[in-house]
């Protein structure tokens, strides 16, 4: 930037002053911030830190929410956004960098207190929190919120962690609850209005992450209208719904019943938030760049065409952030399909793949970093290791691959099928790249595209089908529900989640040693000790060559200069909506 030296000094000085003030205010912001617009200015730092209130943030979504109802939503951006109008027991710290992956108390006073070998978890609620109509929030409202989230008939979209871990004893739904107050679930106790106790079937040391889920946002039973509740969710956050045209747009305005004294986490800077739904994706990008829009709320980054425009134009690039995601694009190897049942044949695939080709298929370096193992670096405790020379031989190690082939009894290679999702051009490009690179060592791939809607339910994710159709290599991708080892690895590496009926993302990792490590982790309440277990799982899977890691994904976000106090929250890997403000 061609700024004069004194100006830079002034900016630095004022930034330092602001930081000092923020640190004194104890509002949880990080130690670094900047006001100079540059590439990645909001990654790991707060860009344009501000306490100025006022203005309207204009957001747009190229699709639609799965649901605004806290019991029925599973999108990362929804969990980020919901903090405007709902307070769950815990939340991700509103801070850039690694701080953002840590949980801090929101509705609760403090983190959960485990007992009974991590099978029971107790939380105490803050005093003075009210719903938007002035009624005080009690632990019974939190219990009711979790109870209704169990009803997958009425709310099919949300996660099933509570269904899976609470000791339900046959409880299905508050709508079928015979008790008069509809609080018949014995697995949750509310000894008094400020205390809530969860009772699990099995120990789970990471329960705090469940307490972060929107399902713990309190819901007033008197105003619960079931499937219609999403038309007007009763707010506990700094904003409430004033207009909600489902499928078209909605508007949030200030909730006068929200008491900032009870909420150290939220700055609540804007006066109003307007969100437009189902807006053409290219139109969103054009508007962001033209200054007609402030936020692309889906948070996964700009479209491919805009991406190249931004990266090649310095004036635009300085408003862009490359956010690392807790997402891995990879290929699963199916040990049920010969000759991939032999570990050396699998290693041949690890060695033979062109890793730069993999990265290119996903858009080159802006699309993500070459992954050498499974856990994305974002996950606390992740360790990077490289068993098959991905870094030293980014285009593949042909010699090592050929040696591995000889060791598995297929010196001239073998043939197998590779599946991918037909509607995804990146996956198609990847499959073609692998076809080419593996052909160098004699591995002949026949590419098999499948419709993405049913890919996991009926095809690659159905063990019988995959085996019968000899799907040896299956293109895959996974993002953690939250950035922690369990959130990332449980669904893709634990053999016990594999269902014969299909719908699996774990397409072939069945290692008893890994399952044992999972059980161990679930019972380890000490965070540091638990964090050490995840890389062990990662290593075991990689040693067994059951996964070919591809790319740790990145999203290119555009940050219009109108935004203030904006940073990427690593908890969601997109901008922290609850913290941002806008210039008037």
């Amino acid at each position: 930037m061609r700024r004069s030296r004194p100006a830079v000094a002034m900016v630095a000085a004022s930034a330092a002053l602001t930081l000092a003030l923020q640190a004194c205010g104890g509002d949880g912001s990080s130690n670094t911030s900047t006001t100079t617009a540059e590439f990645d200015a909001a990654v790991g730092k707060v860009f344009n830190p501000s306490d100025a209130k006022g203005g309207t943030i204009r957001m747009a979504n190229s699709g639609d929410w799965d649901s605004l109802d806290p019991a029925d939503t599973y999108y990362a951006y929804s969990w980020d956004f919901i903090r405007y109008y709902g307070r769950s027991l815990l939340m991700f710290a509103p801070a850039p960098g690694a701080e953002g992956t840590k949980l801090v108390p929101d509705l609760a006073e403090a983190l959960g207190v485990p007992s009974d070998n991590a099978k029971t978890w107790t939380y105490k609620l803050r005093q003075g929190v009210k719903f938007e109509d002035g009624t005080p929030v009690t632990s019974k409202d939190v219990k009711y919120g979790v109870e209704r989230s169990l009803d997958k008939d009425t709310f099919p979209n949300g996660p099933t962690y509570f269904n899976d871990f609470l000791n339900l004893q046959g409880y299905t739904s508050p709508y079928k609850d015979p008790s008069p107050d509809k609080l018949g679930l014995k697995a949750i106790e509310t000894p008094d209005d400020q205390t809530i106790v969860f009772k699990l079937k099995v120990p789970f040391a990471g329960f705090d992450y469940f307490a972060m889920l929107p399902a713990t946002i309190p819901v007033p039973r008197a105003k619960d209208t079931g499937t219609k509740y999403k038309e007007h969710v009763i707010s506990t956050g700094p904003y409430k719904f004033s207009v909600n045209n489902l499928g078209k747009n909605f508007t949030l305005v200030r909730n006068d019943q929200w008491d900032p004294a009870t909420d150290p986490n939220r700055k609540a800077l804007p006066d109003q938030i307007n969100v437009a739904l189902n807006v053409n994706a290219d139109d969103i990008d054009n508007r962001l760049i033209a200054g007609d829009l402030d936020v692309d709320v889906a948070g996964t980054g700009v479209q491919a065409a805009t991406q190249s425009k931004i990266l090649s134009d310095q004036a635009l690039k300085k408003n862009a952030d490359s956010a690392l995601a807790a997402r891995l694009w990879y290929v699963s190897m199916n040990s049920d399909v010969a000759p991939l049942n032999n570990i050396n044949c699998r290693k041949a695939v690890e060695y033979g793949t062109d890793h730069e080709g993999y990265q290119r298929a996903y858009g080159g370096p802006p699309g993500g970093d070459i992954a050498t193992n499974m856990l994305p670096p974002l996950i606390p405790g992740a360790e990077k290791f490289d068993l098959y020379n991905f870094e030293s031989k980014p285009n593949g190690d042909v010699d090592a691959a050929k040696q591995a082939l000889t060791a598995c009894g297929q010196p001239s290679g073998f043939a197998t099928n590779m599946s991918y999702r037909a509607e995804r051009p990146k996956e198609k490009a990847l499959a073609e790249s692998m076809q080419q690179s593996l052909a160098r060592v004699g591995i002949r791939l026949t590419l098999k595209p499948y419709p993405q809607g049913d890919y996991f339910k009926l095809y690659a994710g159905k063990p019988d089908y995959a085996k019968a159709n000899k799907l040896g290599l299956m293109t895959n991708g996974w993002a953690a529900d939250w950035p922690d080892g369990f959130g990332f690895l449980a669904q893709i590496a634990d053999s016990r989640v594999i269902r014969a009926s299909g719908g699996n993302t774990n397409l072939g990792i069945k290692l008893p040693a890994v399952d044992q490590l999972f059980d161990q982790a679930l019972a380890t309440t000490d965070v540091a000790a638990r964090e050490k277990i995840w890389p062990q799982i990662d290593k075991k899977v990689m040693e067994d060559a059951l996964v070919l890691p591809g790319v740790w994904a990145r999203g290119l976000l555009y940050r219009p200069p109108t935004l203030t106090n904006v940073f990427v929250n690593d908890g969601f890997q997109m901008y922290d909506y609850a913290s941002m403000g806008v210039k008037q």
Partner: protein, 337 residues
């Protein structure tokens, strides 16, 4: 004539029925052929980590376990007599015609359709008037001034109009006129006419002109070709031989004849458009039937798909009927049968 119209109306109802049966069949039978079970179908409508019990419940709730004719019977009954749906704490009655509740949003489909129909109708009607007036006038003038600079220029522009895809012209128009020049509101703006007629029209000017550009170009070319052909007809020579003024020859004898196929094509185009101007609505993010259809299909949401399909089929059938009747009114040779 009355008997003819009645017969056509009966045929229309039968056709609507057939259309829904086919949609039902495609939705359910195609995955069955691939070996999918009821739970597999249900897996489209649950969250990422649904367990087998949840799948079974969902399959049950959506009725996928029942044989096809039972499912269809439920749908047909809902259309005629309405149906009841659980919202969780209460049971809601969905009055006839009930197109069911969306598998994804759990909202009734019919009110959504009615709501979005207003948008699509606004878009279609406005654009239709513009393209008809502009396209036909230019076509007629081009035909009368065949070979002139006006003719060549107009047909050149028309060629561009029919060749450029609407998502290109639309995004370009938004980019230039809405974002850079700021003359028009951004994509996604729509105000119902009942709220503010002036704003309603202002919001729709860019979508109207973009859509009309495409059709006006086609109609200009069609009209020009039709006029040129008509002016070579024998009855034009006769009209002149009678000593009529050239203007009467062109308008009363020529235009009236040349426009007949244009009017019928217009009816069909309008009917199709009312079923959902998909590309325009997607480009301009207008919440109309077309956009609704895209969402429905992308999400495998059968009730929404059925609603859109029936509505679209209805408009097309209606348009065809009106066109046939109009043709019989305009062209006496068609009447006797």
């Amino acid at each position: 004539m009355v008997a003819y119209v009645l017969r056509r109306l009966v045929a229309a109802v039968v056709l609507l029925f057939v259309v829904t049966v086919v949609t039902f069949a495609i939705f359910f039978l195609v995955p069955r052929v691939a070996g999918a079970t009821a739970e597999d179908l249900a897996s489209r409508y649950v969250g990422k980590t649904a367990g087998p019990e949840q799948l079974k419940e969902m399959a049950d709730k959506l009725g996928f376990d029942d044989p096809l004719y039972v499912q269809y019977g439920r749908f047909a009954k809902g259309l005629v007599a309405g149906a009841d749906f659980s919202t969780g704490p209460t049971v809601e009655h969905c009055p006839a015609p009930c197109f069911g509740y969306s598998f994804i949003t759990q909202n009734p489909v019919w009110p959504d359709l009615v709501d979005r129909l207003g948008v699509t109708m606004s878009l279609a009607a406005g654009a239709a008037i513009i393209w008809l007036v502009v396209g036909v006038s230019i076509g007629v003038l081009s035909a009368l001034r065949k070979g002139s600079i006006f003719d060549r220029g107009a047909m050149g522009v028309a060629l561009a109009g029919v060749s450029l895809p609407i998502f290109f012209t639309g995004l370009l128009a938004l980019s230039i006129f809405a974002y850079n020049l700021g003359w028009f509101p951004p994509g996604g703006s729509y105000t119902p006419i009942t709220e503010n007629p002036a704003q309603w029209a202002y919001d729709l000017i860019l979508p109207w002109t973009t859509l009309a550009f495409l059709y006006a170009a086609a109609y200009a070319r069609l009209t020009r070709a039709g006029m040129l052909e008509t002016m070579n007809e024998d009855f034009i020579r006769t009209a002149r031989a009678k000593g009529l003024v050239e203007r009467t020859v062109v308008v009363k004898h020529g235009l009236r004849y040349a426009l007949t196929p244009i009017v019928t094509i217009f009816g069909l185009d309008l009917g199709l458009l009312l079923g959902g101007a998909i590309l325009t609505e997607s480009t301009f993010s207008l919440p109309g039937i077309g956009k609704y259809a895209v969402e429905a299909v992308t999400n495998n949401d059968l009730p929404k798909v059925l609603g859109v399909v029936m509505l679209g089929a209805f408009f097309i059938i209606l348009a065809n009927l009106i066109v046939d009747i109009t043709y019989a009114v305009i062209d006496p040779r068609v009447r006797l049968s």
